[in-house]
């Protein structure tokens, strides 16, 4: 992590230990909700996507939500879309490399937060792999 700058470093705030020490470089495929077609807007954190509310964990909100498996992503998106169709019905697979950032350990629901390094873009590397009914 040393020497790598995070994309939203200046937004974390000095009082916050961010990303947490538990976040580590990751290599492999991760899954994320997206729209079709995929654009830059599918890979922006909460304060930029929804600037109306400054709520939530001050560090986590500057990371991107991913899931460790497609099944976990599908389960969460299905649950969310029953009431919140603000989430589009697509799931993208993204090949993440060690140079992209650091990721927290997935929780029981497969969810993890990835903090991107500066100059990283996932748009060209994301592919829609599933559309929910």
């Amino acid at each position: 992590m040393a020497g790598r700058d995070f994309k939203y470093r200046s937004d974390f705030g000095s009082a916050v230990k961010c990303p947490p020490d538990t976040a580590k470089p990751f290599e492999g495929v991760l899954y994320r909700f997206c729209r079709s077609p995929i654009t830059d807007k599918d890979f922006v954190p909460q304060p930029i996507l929804v600037p109306g509310y400054s709520l939530g964990d001050p560090c986590q909100r500057w990371g991107l939500s991913f899931f460790s498996t497609q099944a976990h992503a599908r389960a969460k998106l299905t649950e969310l879309r029953r009431a919140h169709k603000v989430f589009a019905k697509y799931i993208a697979a993204v090949q993440v490399s060690l140079d992209d950032g650091v990721a927290t350990k997935p929780g029981n629901n497969g969810h993890l937060t990835l903090h991107e390094y500066r100059h990283v873009s996932f748009v060209g590397r994301a592919t829609i792999v599933e559309e929910l009914p």
């Binding site: 909460q46 600037p51 109306g52 509310y53 939500s65 969310l80 009431a83 919140h84 169709k85 603000v86």
Partner: protein, 331 residues
């Protein structure tokens, strides 16, 4: 139909996030004494569009307990709803429209209810007590006291460390109930846990009493209440046995049983109170002191389950719990 509304008035103040994933999905807003909910519906190039509806704290409590659907929370019988557009956090447009004119994606599925896993991570939780149509301030105070004391005892005993001598001894002198209340309060305060505190009383009929509580301990209290409902015969039998040999003055007690320890162990497990926290010594007197404290805690829990004071914790409205009201049980 789209009826533009004024945007010159001050925007509402966010009180609580009810559902969150990546960003707030459903929030509770206040404007003076009025309560609203707001649900994000669309992300556009120009900002976000929200549905906004005036509601009541009681309705929010029922929604959070999954007793009413999303649509019952968001829409009233008028069929009208307010939409709000914000750009960079600023209110830019507000309009009234009919539910039938909303884009389909704005409206939740008919059977969609609150998803507890979407509640934001927090070490606090609002526990809501529904107030009956006929109520008085005394009932509110008694419910607050019973609930607060139950949470306090769970905090005070959570580490399993024995309660102080003076506390346990007082249960012999002044009865378990008073000792419990005083002890739990002072010990919980020392443990640097923010104790349960009343967040708001919304007494408009029918109303709600909201108590802001430490989540981990509130869950234990809830679980022990559920244990009472699910195992009522066992609860009732253990209470009767333990109370019989520990109540009041020595001359009024039934003979001390040989299996007192087993009874206490079973009862403390049912009530989620670590038994070792109730003992500083061994022997008959120590067992009687522990029994008094546990019995006093059990009576409070039972009153909360039964809604003896006219207020029922959401989720425990219709327990059908049989047996004498806790108030009629001898102290």
């Amino acid at each position: 139909m789209k009826l533009l509304l004024s945007t010159t008035s001050q925007d509402l103040v966010v009180k609580r996030v009810l559902e969150f994933f990546d960003f707030p999905l459903l929030v509770e807003l206040h404007d003076g004494g009025d309560v609203f909910v707001e649900k994000i519906c669309e992300l556009t190039a120009d900002g976000e569009v929200y549905l906004q509806q005036k509601t009541s704290p009681r309705k929010i409590a029922q929604f959070m307990a999954q007793q009413i659907t999303f649509n019952e929370l968001l829409f009233d019988s008028s069929g009208l709803v307010v939409c709000v557009q914000r750009t960079n956090g600023k209110l830019v447009e507000k309009w009234a429209t009919r539910r039938v004119d909303l884009p389909a994606d704005y409206v939740p599925d008919d059977d969609a209810r609150h998803t507890p896993s979407l509640e934001p991570d927090s070490d606090r939780v609002i526990e809501s007590f529904l107030i009956s149509d006929t109520w008085n301030m005394g009932w509110l105070a008694k419910t607050e006291r019973d609930y607060g004391t139950c949470v306090d005892l769970v905090i005070a005993t959570s580490t399993g460390e024995p309660l102080p001598d003076n506390v346990i001894n007082r249960s012999l002198e002044s009865g378990g109930s008073h000792a419990l209340a005083n002890a739990a309060m002072s010990i919980a305060a020392r443990k640097k846990v923010e104790r349960a505190r009343t967040e708001g009383i919304h007494a408009n009929s029918p109303g709600v009493l909201n108590i802001d509580s430490p989540r981990a301990y509130a869950e234990l209290v809830r679980n022990s209440m559920q244990n009472i409902v699910d195992n009522y015969d066992k609860f009732d039998s253990l209470y009767a046995q333990i109370h019989a040999w520990s109540k009041g003055k020595p001359e009024s007690r039934s003979p001390f049983p040989s299996n007192a320890n087993e009874q206490l162990s079973e009862f403390s497990q049912l009530l989620h109170i670590p038994m070792k926290a109730l003992f500083r010594s061994q022997g008959k007197d120590a067992q009687i002191r522990a029994a008094k404290l546990l019995a006093a805690h059990a009576r409070r829990l039972k009153r909360l389950v039964q809604g003896t004071h006219g207020l029922k914790l959401v989720g425990f409205e219709d327990t059908g719990l049989m047996g004498a009201p806790a108030d009629d049980i001898e102290y």
